[in-house]
C-alpha cells in the first residue's frame, strides 16, 4: 500500500486545476501453480501496477492509464485525459457534470484465515501432485490437471475532493480436471473448487473439498463415457448451484446491466430485452424468484465496500417475488437513465475505466431441500457444472450445456446421462421456476471470465444460489 499512497500523493501534487479528478492505483500480485499428468508446470509469479486517471473539465470527461508512475508519467496521463475531455466536451454523449463523485471514505480487506505464504511452494506442489495422481484412476484418463491460483489486488482510489477508498481483495482458487476418452467419446469433468471460486486464503482448499474430490472427478469422467446420451424432449429440470451460477449470470445479470439498456454495449456484448419502463412492474419470474445484488456475502468473488467510482456498496433486491425491481447500474448510468441502481461501476484493472458490471448476483434461498425438489419430478433431468454457454445479444434465447446429467424418474434420482443441454427463452424460463432450495443448499459459486466492454474487460463475478426446479424445459443430448 506504500507505493499506492506515494503515487496518490504524487498525483495530488501534480493535478492541474480541474472540475473533478480521481486517481485509481492498482497493484496486483498473482501466482499460478499447476500439475498436469504428474508434471509440475512452470510456476508463475506476476505483479502489475498502474494508475488510472479520470477527470472532468467543463462539460468534458476523459481518462488515461499508465504503468509509468513517475511524476513525468502521471503528468503525461493528466495531459492525455484533458485532451480526451476536450473531445468529449465537443462530441460527448452526455454532459460530464453527470460524472459521479467519490462519496466514500472506506476500507475493505478480504477476511482470510490462512495466508497464501503460510505454506511453502513445495507443500503446495505436493498437494497438487497428490490430487493429480488421485485423478488418474484408469488408463482411459488421457489428461489430468490440478491447480492452485492466488491473486491479491490492492487498490487505492482518491479524488480531488478528498474521497478515498482503500481495498485489498485476496483470492485462492483450486481446481481439478480429468479428461477421459474411449471409442470416439471424450468427457471432461472438473471439480475440487473449479466452479467454486471465491475470496479468502488457503483455508479455501479444505472448504471446497479439493483433495477429497479428486477420485470422484476421475470416476465421473469415466462413468460419463459409458452413460447414454441425455434424452431429447420436454422435461422438468433441476439445476445444481454450479449451473445455476451460469443461468443467473447470463439470463438475469447481463440483461439487467443498465449500460446495455442505455445502448453502450450494442456493438459488442449486446443489448437487453429489458427496457427502462419494466422496472417496478415486469414479471421476470415466478413468485419464488428473489434475486439480490449482495456485496456483503463473505467469501464471494465480488464482495467489496465500494465500487471503482467510490460509491458505497449495499445489498439491494433486483427482483423481488418475481417482479423486476432495479437494474444493475452505477451512479453515472443512474444519472443518465433516471433509474435507481447499485454500486457496480467496476474495472478489470488499472488499465480500464469502470463500466456497469455484475457484482455478487445471488438467487435467495427458498424452502425446499434438494430431495424435495427431486421428489416433485415425475420425468426430468438434473444437471450440474456448466461447460457450454450461448445466448443472444438481447439475453433472451439461450442454450447451455453441462458436464453431468442424471435422470429423474418418479421422484427418484437415477443413472448418469452424458452431454446434457437445455435451451429456452429468458423471459419465459424464470416463470417456470417451481422450486427453490433452502438455506442449507445455498452455495457460493462464481464466474471468473465475464467479458464485456469496449475496450474489453474480463472480471470476476460472484453468484450464490441453491438448487432450483424448472418445469417443462427443452433438453437434449449430444451427437450430430
Amino acid at each position: 500500500m506504500q507505493l499506492l499512497e506515494q503515487t496518490a500523493k504524487r498525483a495530488r501534487d501534480l493535478a492541474p486545476a480541474l472540475d473533478y479528478w480521481t486517481v485509481r492505483i492498482v497493484a496486483e500480485e498473482s501466482e499460478i501453480l499447476s500439475v498436469r499428468q504428474g508434471v509440475v508446470e512452470p510456476t508463475r509469479l506476476q505483479t502489475s501496477c498502474g494508475a488510472m486517471i479520470s477527470l472532468v473539465r467543463g462539460s468534458g470527461m476523459g481518462y488515461a492509464a499508465t504503468s509509468d508512475l513517475s511524476a513525468g508519467g502521471l503528468r503525461a496521463a493528466f495531459a492525455e485525459a484533458i485532451r480526451w475531455a476536450e473531445l468529449h466536451a465537443r462530441l460527448g454523449l452526455f454532459d460530464a457534470g453527470l460524472f459521479p463523485r467519490c462519496e466514500a471514505r472506506s476500507e475493505y480487506r478480504t477476511p482470510t484465515l490462512e495466508p497464501w505464504d503460510a505454506r511453502s511452494t513445495e507443500d503446495k506442489l505436493r498437494l497438487l501432485r497428490d490430487a493429480c495422481s488421485a485423478l488418474e484412476t484408469d488408463s482411459r484418463i488421457l489428461d489430468s490437471s490440478a491447480w492452485l491460483e492466488y491473486r491479491r489486488i490492492s487498490q487505492l482510489l482518491v479524488s480531488g475532493d478528498a474521497g478515498r477508498s482503500e481495498q485489498v481483495l485476496e483470492y485462492v482458487n483450486p481446481g481439478l480436471a480429468a479428461v477421459a476418452h474411449e471409442a470416439g467419446q471424450t468427457q471432461r469433468r472438473t471439480g475440487g473448487g473449479a466452479d467454486r471460486p471465491g475470496q479468502g486464503g488457503l483455508e479455501r482448499i479444505a472448504q471446497v473439498g479439493f483433495l477429497d474430490a479428486a477420485p470422484r472427478v476421475g470416476e465421473e469422467a469415466l462413468a460419463l463415457l459409458a452413460a447414454p446420451e441425455c434424452p431429447t424432449g420436454t422435461r422438468d429440470l433441476v439445476l445444481l448451484p454450479g449451473q445455476m451460477a451460469l443461468q443467473i449470470h447470463e439470463s438475469i445479470g447481463h440483461p439487467l446491466e443498465l449500460d446495455r439498456i442505455l445502448g453502450d454495449e450494442r456493438n459488442y456484448a449486446g443489448t437487453s430485452f429489458v427496457t427502462a419502463d419494466m422496472f417496478g412492474s415486469y414479471r421476470y419470474g415466478s413468485d419464488l424468484l428473489n434475486v439480490t445484488f449482495d456485496p456483503s456475502q463473505q467469501g464471494e468473488l465480488a464482495s467489496y465496500a465500494t465500487d471503482d467510482e467510490g460509491t458505497r456498496a449495499e445489498r439491494a433486491y433486483l427482483i423481488r417475488d418475481g417482479i423486476l425491481a432495479r437494474p444493475l447500474g452505477g451512479r453515472l448510468s443512474q444519472a443518465r437513465s433516471g433509474l435507481p441502481g447499485v454500486a457496480n461501476a467496476r474495472a478489470s484493472g488499472w488499465d480500464r475505466p469502470p463500466i456497469d458490471r455484475m457484482g455478487n448476483i445471488n438467487l435467495e434461498p427458498g424452502s425446499a431441500s434438494l430431495d424435495d425438489l427431486i421428489g416433485r419430478v415425475e420425468r426430468g433431468v438434473l444437471m450440474d457444472t456448466n461447460r457450454s454457454w450461448s445466448i443472444d445479444d438481447s439475453r433472451n434465447k439461450f442454450q447451455f450445456g453441462c458436464e453431468l446429467g442424471r435422470l429423474i424418474e418418479d421422484g427418484e434420482l437415477n443413472g448418469l446421462v452424458r452431454n446434457p443441454g437445455y435451451r429456452g427463452i429468458s423471459a419465459n424460463f424464470w416463470r417456470s421456476l417451481a422450486g427453490v432450495g433452502d438455506r442449507n443448499e445455498f452455495e457460493v459459486v462464481g464466474v471468473r471470465n465475464c467479458g464485456k466492454g469496449e475496450p474489453n474487460q474480463g472480471v470476476y463475478v460472484g453468484h450464490a444460489a441453491p438448487p432450483c426446479l424448472f418445469r417443462e424445459v427443452s433438453v437434449f443430448g449430444g451427437g450430430q
Binding site: 506476476q46 473531445l87 462530441l91 460527448g92 454523449l93 488421457l142 456493438n267 438481447s394 442454450q399 469496449e454
Partner: protein, 440 residues
Amino acid sequence: MMRDAFFDLADRLGDGLRGDEVLFCNLDGEDSEFVRLNKNRVRQAGSLHRRSLELSLIAAGRQVEGGCELSGSPEQDLALARDLLERLRERLPHVPEDPYLSYSTTPASSERTLGGRELPDAAEAVSELIAGAGDLDLVGIWASGDLLSGLASSIGHRHWHHSTSFNLDFSCFLESDKAIKAGYGGLEWDGARLAEKLEEVRRGLALMARPTRSIPPGRYRAYLAPEAVQELMDMLAWGGFGLKSHRTAQTPLLRLVEEECSLDPRVSIREEPGRGLVPAFTAEGFDKPERVDLIAGGHYGKCLVDSRSGKEYGVPANAVSEYPESIAFDAGEMPRAEVLDRLGTGLYIGNLWYLNYSDRNDCRITGMTRFGTFWVEKGEPVAPVQVMRFDDSVYHLLGDRLEALTMERELLLCADTYGGRSTASSLLPGILVGGIDLAL
C-alpha cells in the same frame, strides 16, 4: 520503452546471471487510444500507456516464470526487473526439473516495423467518423496506436516487432436487433474508404427497415458472409488445431483426425504467420514458419505446436500458442456478385454471435444470428429476420452440405482488446450451405 531501451535492460539483467542460468525477456507494450461511441457521440475516451515485462529463468533443467509492469524510466525499470529476477531465483530450487522445458538455443535476431506514417490523430478521425455518420445511430469503438513486442535472451536472441495501426469496429442501429455491423482497420487511414463503409451500412439499413420476418426452427439454405465464417473459425480455433488437444483427444475435430469423416475437398485452412501482422518469433526464441496447413483438401493436416507440447510429444514447435493468430481459408469459385442468385431462397447471414460447442465430440456448434441477416427469395433480399439460434455440426456445414465458397476473401482484423489490442487476423471467403439447422 522502445527497442534500444529494452535490449539494454535485457543486457544489464543478463550481466547479473549466475552459473548456468539462462534468461528470456519478453516485452509486451502498447500506447493505445480508445474512443467508445454510442448514438454517434463519444461515450468514453481515453489512453493507455503500458509496458509489461515477462521473464523466464532457467537453470539446471528447471524454469520459473514471472512478469511485472515497467515505468519507462531505465533505472527504475532495472530495479523492478532485478527484483523480479531475484524472486524467480529464490523460487527456482523449490521447483522440480521440468521434462518439457524447451527453448531455442540458437541466437537469432529480427526487426519489423509496420505502419506509423499514415494514421491521423485519433480525435480527428473520430470527428470525421461522427460527421460522416450524421444521423446514424452508430455505436462501437475506435482503437489505435503503437503495439510493441520484443524478445531478448541471454543466449543472444534479439527480436523486435512494432506496429502502428487502427481498428474501427462499429454497428448502426434502426431499432432493437435491427442493425448492420462494419469494420475498418489497418495501417493506413483513408477517409474515402470510411465514407464507402458508411454508404454500405446505409444500404444495408434500408433493407433492415422492412418489417421483420419470423421463421420457425428448421433447416434452411444459407449464405454465411466472411464475418460469420470468422465466428466458426474462432470456435474451431478453440482446441481444434493444437497438438495437446489432439494427443489428449479433446480436439473437436477428433473424428476428422481419426478419419472417421472428412470435410468437403474444397476446405483448406492454414495458419499464415507470414502475413506479417503478428510477431514472427515465439517467447522461447523459435521462429514461426511462413504457414502451417491445418486442414488440406478436407483432411486434417498439421497441428499448431507450442514449445512445451513440442517437447512433450517430440514434435518441432511452430507456434506461440496452440491457437491460430493468422488463419486463412482457401477461396472457392463463386463470385460474390452471384451469391444471392446461387442462394435462391434462404438466409443471408451477415454475422454470427456467441458461439459455443453443443457437443465437441461431433464438432456440433450452437450460436446466434446477429446483425445484417436477411430472408432471401428467388435471389432477392426481402426482409430482415428475427435473431435465430443455430445448432449444427461443422461436419455438415463444411462437409456434406457445403455448396460453394466465394472467389473473394475478406481480411478481417480482430477487434479484441482483452489483455491488449489483438494483432490476430483472418482471411476468409463466404460459404453457401445447402442447410443450417435452426433450433430456436
